[in-house]
Amino acid sequence: MSRLLILTVALFLLHAGLQWVEPASAGLAAHGQGPRVGVVFDLGGRGDKSFNDGAYVGAMRAVKALGAQVRFVEPGEGSDREAGLRLLAAEGMDLVIGVGFIFSDDLTGLAKEYPNIAFAGVDYAVALDGQGQPIQPPPNLAALKFREEQGSFLVGALAALVGGSKKVGFVGGMDTPLIHKFEAGYRAGVLHVCPDCTVLAQYAGVTPEAFRNPGRGKELALSQYQQGVRVIYHASGSTGLGVFEAARVQHGLGIGVDADQYDEAPGFILTSMVKRVDNAVYDAIDRVKAKKFHGGIIQFGLAEDGVGYVYDAHNRALIPSQVHDRLEQLKADIVAGRLQVPSTR
């Protein structure tokens, strides 16, 4: 019994001692005169080639351009996400950013607890009340949301225009409204330029694991390619890497999501629907610096350069210039409000 006690005390002392140790991932990025910003990454952290890296790029741009002092926290599995946010809030940061919808509830709670600190949630999931109306976040919490349907619309139009097939594919991760948004916009884009096309839309599962199942993604994509699909758009996290692998095998094309995924399968990526997390994060920091920060739902769409598609030296050969012109026209129509893109299916 006493051994157990000694062990407990020793562990406690070790734990207490570690309070003074600065974790490598939680370092201060730079010293400047600008706002003090804390960023808590989603699972995966830096190096996920997607959301977290985007947030990092945006924050580092703010360090250079705005003199922001940024601290990054990379939580481990599960429970200590809230602790990361709380740590930063308790330190009196000017702005605390949670990267990923998973932080939504934690941010809402903390924003009420610390009314004088600005909070921002990338991809914040807005809760709905009994009538299905969105519940506005607290006044010091900015919900940074993206109009994924708009970007998906453009890549859908592109898939139909260059695919050379009446069948166009979509692979989603977890079967949830968040991913239906991608599917709805994509489908609308396909049908806008090709009314007699069909969209094969499939999901990898109904649990969060559906975002990390490349084996399933590959089989889904293989069956779609075998049915005559030429281009598949995925919104499924690393499950989509399996879609690209199938594209290699079947000599088809894949469309990436969130970030430019060209490097995952060079030559087999038609384009990527990018969410400019970097722009959203930079924008939030900029607002705090300019004392123009306000809470509420902030949408980043095509007009705000919050979403878009990749068109560069890598895929120019795959996209004829008149197709590119057509896409730009569609983009202008959406920005001007002449074209409405549905966000539900």
Partner: protein
């Protein structure tokens, strides 16, 4: 959708299950609970990536996966047999350890938290692991039912005291079974990596638990467990195909494998009898 495509896809999906279920059947027949299959698979998947990356060929991937699996099996044997830790606790601990360790090692080796770079692999049915999985089942059945080691494994799982009285080294037999089970399940993970030409964080996505369900469904007999694996894989294939046709609501289609599992296990378990000493190590 031709029948050939259906069977091909079923076989590809079944391969990781077949390996893991074979490992699970072996360890459980020796009386050691196999909650670790998921961890063994994920470890094997990562080992395959490291092996193929360092060795520069897919065959090195198989070796790498196998090595990590044997190592993890040894760890489980050390914890649950040598030190007599609760097998379920040790199993869960290994699963959690592997999730964290692979992510950490991924960061160290490839400077990414999501996936490894593209590595050598096998494409489709050129993958020797598919054929190995099919061969493995009858071999395991023969091992368990027709050899001296098999008899010892079964004896140790059913009545360790009796086996010990007859001079069977209980702990050693169990350790051998667990280590081999680690290697086998890891090959299932290696298949995933080599088929994808890439390791991805947490890429096994619960396949180890499906394989464990197949072991129980198959009443701890290798052949029956293999049939269960093929059945689950066929259900998944059906789900993939039906989802594409959109005849039925997607949510319902996604349920098929799980419903089948519940129905099958509920119907089968009433008659199934686990090894009598499963999870209860020999008191020494």
């Amino acid at each position: 959708m031709s029948l050939l495509h259906f069977f091909g896809q079923t076989l590809r999906i079944a391969t990781p299950y077949l390996f893991a279920a074979a490992g699970g059947a072996l360890a459980e027949r020796a009386g050691v609970v196999s909650l670790t299959l998921e961890g063994f698979m994920l470890g094997g998947a990562f080992g395959a990536a490291i092996g193929a990356w360092l060795g520069g060929g897919a065959w090195f991937g198989i070796l790498g996966g196998l090595a990590v699996g044997l190592l993890l099996g040894g760890l489980h044997a050390l914890g649950s047999i040598r030190f007599g830790a609760d097998q379920i606790v040790s199993g869960v601990a290994i699963n959690l350890l592997v999730v964290g360790a692979t992510r950490f090692a991924l960061q160290l080796a490839f400077d990414s938290s999501s996936n490894s770079p593209r590595i050598a692999g096998f494409d489709g049915f050129a993958n020797p692991l598919i054929w190995a999985a099919l061969l493995l089942t009858p071999l395991l059945a023969v091992l368990l039912n027709r050899t001296r080691l098999g008899l010892r494994i079964r004896a140790v799982g059913e009545h360790p005291q009796a086996a010990a009285t007859l001079g069977v080294p209980v702990a050693r037999v169990q350790a051998v079974a667990v280590v081999i089970s680690g290697g086998l399940a890891a090959l299932g993970g290696a298949y995933l990596t080599l088929d994808q030409h890439q390791f991805t964080d947490s890429m096994t996505a619960g396949r180890g638990f499906i394989a464990l369900a197949a072991v129980i469904f198959g009443r701890w007999q290798p052949l029956r467990a293999a049939v269960a694996c093929l059945l689950f894989a066929a259900a998944e294939t059906l789900q993939i195909q039906l989802q594409a046709t959109q005849w039925i609501a997607a949510q319902f289609v996604v349920m098929i494998p799980y419903v089948l599992t519940i129905v099958a296990v509920a119907g089968a378990v009433t008659r199934a009898k686990p090894p009598a000493a499963l999870g209860r190590p020999l008191a020494s």
